[in-house]
């Protein structure tokens, strides 16, 4: 077992709990930095594109995790904020704004607009908030059609290439550069997220999640704090949407649909609500399942000559996996990992109820 000696408060405040943790994350960083080398070696960047896609999903996942996992506010409308970010980015770029400005700006504007849209419904709780955001998501496609001059409507819009001080980046022609760019954005956002959680703002978010009434009694302004969380969350979703646009190359009114909103929520539940890791674990699962199903199908077809062509198989499998998670692993993949780790750390003292926790997500307000 790892003992954490408290020599000063720095140990609590610093990014990593102890040296070993810093080493592990250092190794992880090395791994993700060197991943492209493998694809250069095999001279096939197709899978690298998939990995980049997973990172883009994880960025939106982090946004939603902050809102749902850390502030306790469910949203079934985060694809809407991705759409906002994506179309703002496209329009800014086609106005000639350099990418280095257009990209962060589109995220921030998505954050501001998202918060303005959400303000009227932020008073709602639990399932009502979920329904309100769901309705928003259902309307998104129509709005994209209505806003045709900016979005291209049903015909869709081509996403301009990224140009950073003369360096052209395109998902297909320069997949390695695109990967590193997305990785840089991801790492930056993880760092922001970690900072938030170890500072007063992040604590006020989790306070609201766990008990609105005592958060208020500690001096936390509920509406302002929820709006802050929504702003940050929608900003991350907006940035993800902008990158998603670059990754897809072409977006229509059906790109950021309800299914995407739902997928994002499923993703963070599968990954583990309330942990930054959860956003990544979830994104990996969501990213891998379609690839795995496709591969499984080819495998069956080539080796056993069995052709499975059931429409909707992917969604059904996905839904099945989700139900299993909610039934058997409510803490998500990251929760499972924590349990396994603790089991080995404490062996043979592990108790079965060690991770029992009260259901507190989506709890409605209660007063005495």
């Amino acid at each position: 077992m790892q003992f954490v000696f408290k020599t000063s408060y720095d140990a609590d405040i610093s990014l990593f709990k102890h040296g070993a943790q810093a080493v592990w994350y250092g190794l992880l960083l090395l791994l993700v930095l060197s991943t492209p080398l493998y694809f250069v070696a095999i001279d096939d960047a197709y899978l690298l594109g998939e990995i980049t896609g997973i990172l883009i999903l994880a960025i939106a996942g982090m946004g939603l995790m902050l809102l749902t996992g850390h502030t306790g506010l469910p949203s079934l409308g985060h694809a809407t904020f991705m759409a906002l970010g994506c179309y703002l980015n496209i329009n800014l770029l086609s106005e000639g704004v350099p990418w280095i400005v257009a990209f962060p700006l589109s995220g921030l504007m998505a954050g501001v607009l998202g918060t303005m849209i959400a303000l009227p419904v932020l008073r709602l709780h639990g399932v009502y908030l979920a329904l309100a955001t769901l309705a928003m998501s259902m309307l998104t496609s129509d709005f994209v059609v209505i806003a045709e001059p900016w979005t291209g409507g049903i015909a869709g819009a081509v996403v301009p290439d990224i140009n950073i001080f003369g360096m052209e980046i395109n998902r297909y022609s320069t997949p390695y550069k695109f990967y590193y760019l997305v990785l840089l954005v991801t790492i930056l956002l993880v760092w922001f997220y970690r900072n938030l959680l170890r500072s007063p703002t992040g604590r006020s978010f989790t306070a609201i999640r766990d008990s609105e009434i005592s958060a208020r009694a500690m001096g936390i302004n509920l509406m302002r704090t929820k709006a802050m969380s929504f702003f940050l969350s929608a900003t991350a979703a907006g940035l993800s949407g902008a990158l998603f646009g670059h990754s897809a190359g072409y977006v229509t009114n059906e790109t950021f649909d309800l299914v995407m909103s739902i997928t994002l929520l499923l993703m963070i539940v599968i990954g583990g609500l309330g942990f930054i890791h959860g956003a990544f674990f979830g994104a990996v699962v969501v990213g891998i399942i379609p690839v795995a199903i496709a591969n499984g199908r080819t495998f069956l077809a080539t080796t056993f000559d069995v052709n499975i062509n059931v429409p909707g198989l992917e969604s059904a499998l996905f839904a099945f996996i989700l139900i299993c998670f909610i039934l058997f692993e409510p803490m998500g993949l990251y929760g499972r990992w924590l349990k396994i780790r603790t089991y080995f750390e404490l062996f043979p003292f592990y108790r079965k109820d060690m991770f029992k926790r009260q259901k507190s997500y989506l709890k409605t307000d209660r007063l005495q």
Partner: protein, 263 residues
């Protein structure tokens, strides 16, 4: 001068008059106890001070300022802190994090400064940690420092909630049944802490408590309530022997034996 002045406050829930024309003053440095049978309106008075409810009539002042002009989340800035009868801790957070939320009213940095963890945020965190560490020391919470609330025994949670209120460095501490559900030893500890909080930290306390032993041991003045109305105010001995109080407790048993349940 009195710290907290409640004057002729009335609150109705529909037809029920939960608090009926109650007036009370808590003086600086004193421990003032509210007693009374279940449903007397004691917690409701706390919730009025916390601004969770608006009184129908009356005024609530703190150090001369009108509390009724503020929202619930502005009350801590008056240096008022509280605990809850049914423990309202942040379950998915550690003891340390819970106590740090208690520091919220002393917060100096904003969201953007926090996101980049600016040097100012870092210095602020150091200050908060130092303050919280003193509370941990005072309440002997070191063994639980990094434990999740979800896994802690009831008695420890009660102490953590006291600690969270103390971490905000209040002038007035509202304690809603600090000893309910505690063992005899734990109640003893609580009594010592309350005395230290009063005498060493100079914090005034308004407390709701059923355990008359504890009330007599720590409080200077007591107010007995029943059905939202004041029955008597005075020293613990005076109130306990007051005819109206004895009558109110008739049928619920002796005053000193009531309300040991966790409610």
């Amino acid at each position: 001068m009195s710290l907290l002045e409640i004057e002729n406050v009335t609150l109705r829930f529909g037809g029920l008059v939960a608090v009926d024309n109650v007036s009370l003053k808590v003086n600086e440095g004193e421990v003032f106890a509210l007693v009374g049978p279940n449903g007397a309106g004691k917690s409701t008075i706390f919730n009025l001070i916390s601004r969770f409810y608006d009184p129908a009539e009356g005024s609530i002042r703190f150090e001369g300022n009108d509390l009724l002009k503020s929202n619930a989340d502005q009350v801590p800035s008056f240096s008022i802190a509280r605990t809850f009868q049914n423990i309202e801790l942040f379950e998915q957070a550690t003891v340390l994090q819970n106590l740090l939320v208690g520091r919220h009213r002393h917060r100096q940095t904003g969201m953007f400064s926090n996101i980049i963890f600016s040097p100012k945020t870092y210095r602020e965190e150091l200050c908060h940690r130092a303050a919280v560490e003193e509370v941990i020391e005072f309440l002997n919470l070191q063994p639980y420092r990094d434990k999740m609330i979800g896994g802690l025994p009831y008695g420890v949670r009660k102490v953590v909630e006291l600690g969270r209120a103390l971490a905000s460095e209040p002038k007035l501490l509202l304690l809603d049944e600090p000893a309910s559900g505690l063992s005899v030893e734990e109640t003893q500890d609580m009594a010592f802490w309350i005395e230290d909080i009063q005498t060493q930290m100079g914090i005034s306390i308004l407390m709701v408590e059923h355990d008359m032993g504890l009330v007599s041991a720590v409080s200077g003045r007591v107010m007995a309530l029943s059905d939202g109305k004041e029955l008597a105010t005075g020293t613990p001995a005076e109130v306990q022997s007051h005819p109206a109080v004895i009558e109110a407790y008739l049928g619920t048993g002796d005053i000193s034996k009531t309300g040991t349940s966790r409610a």
